[in-house]
């Protein structure tokens, strides 16, 4: 199941590598990994490559089983995996292609504040964020949604919060899909999932989730940066979280429901975590309906975290957040399956695009890009690590043709959690970050150790690959100055 990939990668060009289709192993299409030679060398015989080959066996898969340069070992699909299936040709949907944290994603707030405005206030700001925005395991938030309220939130997403004045028109417009996946089915979300999610909307959680205060330290594309409201020295806030316990449980429920289903449809799977059902089947439709509800919960979670961040800024800077210009640049999902229109063999076709640890990156002119950004393209937000940098990119010209409009989602882990914790023994990660100019506050020391900068690949390298591959283009680099974590 997690044995190394027995074949070998063939170089297509500087940033693309092919795992040739091997019918004897059940592959229906090639695998294609976006990476440079160094990243490929670092991958070695990582089981993630075998996972790319496994995904290539899924019925109805179109084009190739793709992996982004932040590829690493996941469950079923690798992290950084992308697969599009054609429902009209028996294409399947797989919860393993979305992951446990449905619609885990990021949102970026920009502001009119400059780095100078943080002088003498940054520590207070980070402490206030840590005190006010719930982080870490076992922390519930000030919001609680049960019964019809929770069902409405699951069905309507961020527009539900706008009706409650917890979101603005701009917040709705600047979310992927307008902050709501249509055809969500709250009635198919289990009671256990709803119980797990009741008091977690508006909480960050733990693991790799965070809220970071950042400063724009470089602008590469002036026109796109101007459209996104970003300029050098501007203070921003990056929020990374997902659908919390509710989404994890929806995935778990689906994997149980799908026990035996692939066999009933005559589907042979190389890995149980790839459990799937034809998109058109009742089981496939049921998963998609529940998954969309969880995705809507995640959009709302990040919106309510943003609402709390705005309250903290108001308190620390003494003016309403609107006067600080603390507006949403964009909110993107990086664990989701969506039906999207793509061109296959010259014909527009509705495909079920799985992105697991991968970000939608639609180019300029695409009708799903909000009007304010349509001339430049969709903003793509790529968090790096808490010591180095994150990036804002924009959907690239080759994304639709090469990756179903998709790019990377982060730096990708270089060290396992256990290895990172081991390397932090005898060190003080918080003090090291402070020496680099980053104030870090975490609910647990273990969380900070496991998420230290060295645990991740260099995000600049990963971004360089997707830029050169034309999937998404560099706009601005952001440097962290404050971070709160679980």
């Amino acid at each position: 199941m997690d044995a190394p990939f027995p074949g070998r990668l063939e170089r297509i060009d500087d940033v693309r590598w092919r795992l040739p289709c091997d019918a004897d192993r059940g592959m229906r299409v090639d695998g294609v990994v976006f990476a440079d030679a160094d990243l490929v060398a670092a991958l070695g015989d990582d089981p993630a490559l075998a996972q790319v080959a496994h995904v290539a066996t899924l019925p109805g898969i179109v084009g190739a089983s793709l992996a982004m340069p932040d590829i690493h070992w996941g469950y079923g699909f690798c992290i950084g995996g992308v697969a599009a299936t054609d429902p009209g040709r028996g294409g399947v949907v797989s919860p393993g292609g979305v992951g446990y944290d449905i619609n885990c994603g990021v949102r970026l707030l920009r502001s009119d504040l400059r780095e100078d405005d943080l002088a003498g206030r940054l520590e207070r700001l980070v402490d206030a964020l840590h005190a006010h925005v719930p982080t870490g395991v076992g922390r519930s938030g000030p919001f609680r949604f049960v019964g019809r309220e929770l069902d409405a939130l699951l069905a309507e997403g961020v527009p539900f919060l706008r009706r409650r004045a917890w979101a603005t028109d701009g917040d709705v417009e600047h979310c992927e899909a307008g902050g709501v996946l249509a055809d969500a089915r709250p009635d198919l979300v289990s009671d256990v999932a709803k119980a797990r999610g009741a008091d977690q909307c508006g909480t960050v959680g733990s693991g790799n989730h965070f809220v970071e205060v950042q400063v724009v330290d470089r602008v590469v594309d002036e026109a796109a940066a101007a459209a996104f409201g970003l300029e050098v020295g501007a203070v921003c806030v990056l929020i990374h979280s997902g659908s919390r316990g509710l989404g994890y449980q929806v995935c778990d429920d689906a994997l149980r429901t799908l026990r035996g289903v692939p066999e009933r449809h005559g589907i042979v799977l190389p890995d149980r975590q790839l459990a799937c059902a034809p998109v058109a089947s009742p089981e496939g439709q049921a998963y998609l309906g529940a998954m969309r509800a969880a995705a809507n919960y995640a959009f709302c979670n990040r919106q309510l975290i943003a609402a709390q961040v705005r309250e903290v800024f108001e308190r620390v800077f003494g003016v309403p957040w609107q006067r600080l210009g603390l507006d949403l640049v964009y909110d993107v999902a990086h664990n989701v399956a969506k039906l999207e229109a793509h061109v296959v063999d010259g014909r527009e076709t509705s495909l079920c695009v799985h992105r697991k640890g991968a970000t939608r990156a639609f180019p300029a002119g695409h009708p799903e890009v909000p009007p304010a950004y349509r001339e430049v393209g969709q903003p793509v937000i790529v968090p790096g690590d808490m010591g180095r940098a994150s990036w804002v990119l924009v959907g690239g010209p080759l994304a639709m043709e090469r990756s179903f409009g998709t790019t990377c989602h982060g730096a990708g882990r270089a060290l396992s959690r256990k290895a990172a914790a081991r390397s932090a023994r005898g060190r003080d990660v918080r003090a090291e970050l402070a020496a680099r100019g980053v104030i870090a506050r975490a609910a647990s020391r273990k969380g900070l150790d496991e998420e230290q900068p060295d645990a991740y690949k260099d995000v600049d390298r990963v971004v360089d690959v997707v830029h050169r591959a034309g999937l998404s283009l560099r706009v601005a680099r952001l440097r962290p100055v404050g971070v709160i974590k679980g």
Partner: protein, 155 residues
């Protein structure tokens, strides 16, 4: 301690070993609890850790479980998932467990009594969130007189 963690890039693997199937399920509960709590005493001596938490004002809790499954590995999955739901929904941290496992033609049944404390971050500093128990590398087998299991936990 009849369990240890093993490497998995973004998550945590548990390898558990015991002299009987029931003991293996008991060890698995202790292993899972130790992932949540940022205090090695919970891994080394859960009985003492629970007693200490109660002595400092923690609310003792006890829950009963009855599960059925067609196969060993799935029963382990369902058991750990039941403990995860107890933790998240009822805030019950339950490392002290007595398990009985029976098998017949219909499959396997597990009955358990689990004790512990109501989660209170002030009394038990919590290390990490457990998102899910996964099927990835899930295995449970008998090797001679020993039972062993592997399970990867998404954190």
């Amino acid at each position: 301690m009849a369990w240890q963690t093993f490497e998995h890039t973004a998550d945590v693997g548990l390898r558990i070993e015991a002299a009987s199937l029931a003991q293996l399920f008991e060890e698995a509960a202790r292993a899972l609890a130790s992932l949540w709590v940022d205090d090695p005493r919970w891994a080394e001596d859960a009985e003492a850790a629970v007693a200490d938490a109660v002595a400092r004002g923690g609310e003792p809790v006890e829950e009963r479980f009855a599960l059925a499954s067609g196969e060993h590995a799935e029963l382990l999955f369902d058991w750990l998932h039941a403990l995860l739901v107890a933790f998240e929904v009822r805030r019950a941290l339950l490392p002290l467990v007595h398990v009985e496992v029976a098998s017949d033609e219909a499959g396997l049944t597990l009955r358990a009594t689990a004790r512990g404390v109501r989660v209170d971050p002030a009394l038990q500093p919590l290390a990490r969130e457990v998102k899910a128990i996964t099927y990835h590398r899930l295995a449970l087998r008998r090797e001679g007189a020993r039972w062993t299991a592997e399970v990867v936990v998404d954190v």
